[in-house]
């Protein structure tokens, strides 16, 4: 068994095998789409392809209803129309395997051995969830590759490239914008602790620590990339681009059932005067946790970003299973530093799946059988939040950073 694992996790074997598995599933998916009623390909893939078709006809991709992404994605997928519809899926699986490679490189930079790094990579490369998602035609792997690329550049101190990739990833999906605070905190000038801790002076020192060349370079390049892309697409597609790519996601109040603990509350109060205040109240826990996480863990950027995204997704007003991939791609960076036993780790994993299962049950009965299970879905959503919080607490409590041995004692 040990020999098999060692063989499988040889670099070339692992990466080749993971690409081949994905390619085989893409081929199978094509067969299933043509022969069976239940399609393998995700509906999103058809949305992307339809939007790409509009672009090839010289029109706006937003003519395709429910296309709520950057035009860049539709542009990238225009070979779906010119060459073959499978092009997009090939692109997604390549980005998926690339994400595995980036995880490997980051782990090496953080001091992990080759063999250990490959074993951890295998958790992503041979994981059925990302395999399924990218072979079905979801574009999440592009963003995973961009975020991991940003982290690799930050780890290797290639700030300009990191800033370019960061600007690009924020353009593609808004959630990486939360990484701005920990990145800023990690790039500021760290000084030796001064005796003088008087309020005003230490505040001034704190603000001044942000004013350094590196942070300025990163901020201006990232903002520049983001603004350039926004300006370009605004010029091409107008207000609709801005609304569908950004505003819709920021103000999204999907009252239909989803994993979010806020779903039922937002559904029942959708048309009431309280709706705005409740939306704000729902935003507060997210904001507080992101601020605390940024301050507490900014020196370990990978861990901080993982926490940021898990918190963002778990406490968000809308949560679908696609969002899980946003933090799952960062989990392999965290795992080598966890002092949890295998049994504990598997236990947490089972708990996470159980939480989803308890939600999916009543949701199925509501949507496909027509029972009124709203109350059960609501309770399952709350339970899933509690489970996610518990898992995060376990991860935080058992995390041992290797590079910075300083750790504040538990007060």
């Amino acid at each position: 068994m040990e020999r098999l694992i060692t063989k499988l996790t040889e670099k070339h074997v692992l990466f080749t095998a993971s690409f081949v598995i994905r390619l085989a599933l893409v081929a199978y998916g094509d067969y299933q789409d043509k022969t069976m009623v239940v399609k393998y390909t995700d509906i999103d893939y058809h949305v992307f392809t339809d939007a790409a078709r509009f672009i090839t006809e010289g029109q706006s991709p937003y003519n395709r209803s429910t296309y709520r992404y950057t035009p860049l994605l539709a542009w990238l997928l225009t070979p779906n129309i010119y060459l073959n519809m499978v092009f997009g899926k090939i692109l997604f699986i390549v980005c998926d395997v690339l994400s595995g490679l980036l995880i490997y490189k980051i782990l090496l930079l953080k001091g992990l051995g080759t063999e250990a790094a490959l074993r951890v990579c295998a958790l992503w490369l041979l994981n059925p969830l990302p395999i399924g998602v990218s072979s079905r035609g979801n574009a999440e792997s592009i963003l995973a590759a961009l975020v991991l690329g940003t982290l690799l550049c930050m780890e290797a101190r290639h700030l300009m490239w990191g800033a370019i990739l960061y600007g690009l990833s924020v353009h593609m999906k808004i959630y990486p914008v939360t990484y701005a605070l920990p990145i800023a905190l990690s790039l500021r000038t760290t000084e030796t602790r001064s005796e003088d801790n008087k309020g005003m002076k230490s505040l001034m020192r704190f603000i001044r620590s942000f004013l350094n060349r590196e942070l300025f370079l990163f901020a201006s390049v990232a903002a520049g990339v983001f603004c350039m892309l926004t300006a370009l697409f605004y010029y091409m597609y107008g207000w609709e681009f801005f609304h569908e790519t950004y505003l819709y996601h920021l103000t999204r109040r999907d009252i239909r059932h989803n994993f979010s603990p806020y779903f039922y509350m937002l559904y029942l109060t959708a048309d009431s005067g309280w709706s705005q205040w409740l939306g704000l109240a729902a935003f507060l826990p997210q904001l507080i946790l992101l601020l605390v996480a940024s301050w507490a863990f900014h020196s370990d950027l990978s861990f901080c970003c993982f926490l940021h995204t898990s918190i963002f997704v778990s406490f968000n007003k809308v949560c679908t299973s696609q969002y899980f991939l946003w933090y799952l791609c960062l989990l392999p960076l965290v795992i080598p530093h966890l002092s949890l036993s295998l049994k504990q780790g598997v236990g947490l994993l089972i708990l996470w799946f159980a939480g989803q299962g308890l939600w999916l049950g009543p949701a199925y009965f509501l949507e496909f059988e027509g029972y009124n299970t709203f109350l059960w879905i609501w309770l399952a959503g709350l339970l899933f939040l509690i489970i996610n919080s518990f898992i995060l607490i376990q991860i935080v409590s058992h995390y041992k950073p290797t590079q910075t041995p300083q750790r504040l004692k538990v007060e």
């Binding site: 209803s65 507080i288 496909f368």
Partner: protein, 238 residues
């Protein structure tokens, strides 16, 4: 050679015969509707039994007037129409995500056999989806959406212009699913339908629980927030 007046008199007679036949066909046709499946995703199965002596040149059109509580997915219909022999056109763009009280009803034109001869028994199955409805504040767990059976319309080029088809109405509608021209169709009178409208039930949220749900949600989220913040702060890395 017959004189022109004689030719036009014979033509009129033939026209009247065809129109009479059309009137007879529409009177003797039966339309029935059944809604299958459960939950938010249903299928509306319409069966049309035409009179056995219907000529091959007759075109059939089914006109559905849908309430705002349901919608059809144009993209799903487009992929379905590749696999089935019926074609459909919609009268307006469909909002795929809006709740019922913020959308309007719409009309669909279904052409069961757009090309080829018309068989006497037609079956069309259209997938429909329920919209989310406003929560109920009177402790009702379901809301009812009434779906009317479609109206049957017939057209034949041999009865043009349409006259003497009382008591049936004449209606303008697209000639084919290409929607390039408009024709005059004969609409069947209501009494020929086998059943009346069908009521479809969709679950709705319980508005009377608004207080406990809001309170419970905010309490649990705040508690999780506090617990997680506390642990993150205790284990912070300098």
């Amino acid at each position: 050679m017959l004189p022109i007046s004689e030719v036009s008199r014979l033509a009129n007679e033939k026209n009247e015969n065809h129109c009479g036949l059309l009137q007879h066909w529409i009177e003797s046709s039966l339309v029935s509707m059944e809604i299958i499946k459960r939950g938010f995703h249903r299928e509306v199965e319409t069966t049309v039994e035409l009179s056995p002596d219907v000529h091959s040149g007759v075109r059939v059109l089914l006109l559905h007037r849908w309430p705002r509580g349901v919608y059809v997915d144009p993209y799903q219909l487009a992929s379905l129409s590749d696999l089935s022999d019926w074609k459909i056109i919609l009268d307006s763009t469909i909002d795929l995500e809006g709740p019922a009280h913020k959308t309007t009803g719409f009309v669909t034109f279904v052409y069961p056999t757009p090309d080829g001869p018309t068989p006497t028994l037609l079956k069309v199955t259209i997938p429909i989806h329920g919209r989310y409805h406003e929560p109920s504040f009177v402790a009702e767990t379901f809301t009812s959406v009434e779906i009317e059976p479609p109206e049957l319309l017939l057209w034949t080029e041999k009865c043009m212009p349409l006259n003497n088809v009382e008591p049936h109405d004449v209606m303008e509608a697209p000639c084919t699913h290409h929607n390039s021209s408009s024709c005059q169709w004969v609409k069947q009178q209501h009494q020929q339908k086998e059943r009346g409208p069908v009521n479809v039930q969709f679950p709705v949220g319980d508005g009377s629980l608004c207080g406990p749900v809001c309170g419970g949600t905010l309490l649990v989220t705040m508690l999780c927030c506090v617990a997680l913040s506390k642990h993150m702060w205790e284990h912070r890395i300098i």
